[in-house]
Symmetry: C2
Subunit: 188 residues, 2 copies
DNA sequence: ACACTCCTTCACTGATCTGTATACCTTGGC
DNA sequence: GCCAAGGTATACAGATCAGTGAAGGAGTGT
């Protein structure tokens, strides 16, 4: 996706990622994004057509980066049992440099319009993670992988949602996730 | 808090709740809030001083309504063990009429400024729920009530975060919460 | 020589944003 | 009668919003 972007286009998306995530989508104007990326507003509109489409591209690119991180964490595991909770390891890494929670949930909060092109990106992302959990659980031989996947997804989102708050829930969540996976293998 | 408001002030907050929650805080202007509440913009500023303060009042009032619902669900329980998961029953009820996720998490997403008066309201709310979980767990004789409370909070937030998505996680989450509570009592 | 893509410059529209100024009306309490 | 409080009406400031129009420069491929 990003290979098809022009140099200016890449700079625009990079600036948009930084600004939209840290300050909020609605709060950031296209003028600021253009200025930060060293590009004319005209170029921004020539590349992306509208702010909404730029938002969708921003989320898509962020999604790709995040999925790559998750898959890398999964690949790093030798035991299929560890792989099931690998996304939580990735989450720990990811959270260190992304302290404002889940960009996708945040985007959902700001964009109530069900027709907004960004919504599909968000829904896809969550479904992808759930299906990944289910696949990994099946490979590891867990009982009821579908139910386990749903549970792990809720845990994952809960850890993300409470992350911007001073509550220190991430470690607790990872531990619970591992317990759930262990419990699902004992009974099988 | 709301008894101290004038009639016009109450109408303003009511309109603000509806608009801010469904459309987003940044996306809704004070002109619209004034119009919807049948009040002049001048009155709005005479009552609340600024939009930021109105946002804080909106969240505070919403918080009070939600806490009352949770406490009512807790009081309805005969068994102390059921009381621990009562907030999840309240969540089920609450979600039926609030389909855009957690207003407080959404507000956090829109208001990155750490000094914003609304942030303290959000942090208070989450901490209150965590402490309630801990208290109920202690009363029910659960092992490690602090850890259990952290876990239940994460579950609660995870269910809320995934609620606007077509994923049907609420029932799964409630079931898991009950299992966690049962497990914490077996070992004690 | 020609066309095409990428990007720039800059002015501009029309709407909307938060917040303020001024002046007036009405109601209840003393 | 008087005054303060709550509220109305209207107009406005100054900034910012998303998005467009028109023209041109620079590089590349043919």
């Amino acid at each position: 996706m990003q290979e098809s972007l022009t140099p200016a286009g890449r700079r625009i998306v990079a600036a948009a990622e930084e600004l939209f995530y840290t300050r909020g989508i609605t709060a950031v104007g296209v003028d600021l994004v253009a200025e930060r990326s060293g590009v004319t507003k005209r170029t921004l509109y020539n590349r992306f057509g509208s702010k909404d489409r730029l938002v969708a591209v921003y989320l898509t690119q962020r999604d790709e980066r995040w999925r790559a991180l998750v898959l890398a964490a999964v690949d790093r595991c030798d035991e299929p049992l560890d792989a099931v909770t690998a996304p939580f390891d990735a989450l720990t890494t990811w959270s260190e440099t992304n302290e404002r929670g889940c960009a996708f949930v945040n985007a959902l909060a700001e964009l109530p319009d069900p027709e907004h092109p960004a919504r599909a990106v968000v829904v896809d992302q969550k479904r992808w993670l759930r299906d990944l959990f289910a696949e990994l659980a099946t490979t590891a031989g867990c009982a009821e992988p579908g139910v386990l996947a749903d549970r792990l997804l809720v845990l994952h989102e809960g850890a993300l949602a409470t992350q911007p708050l001073p509550l220190e829930t991430l470690a607790v969540t990872c531990e619970l996730a591992r317990e759930l996976v262990r419990a699902a293998t004992r009974h099988s």
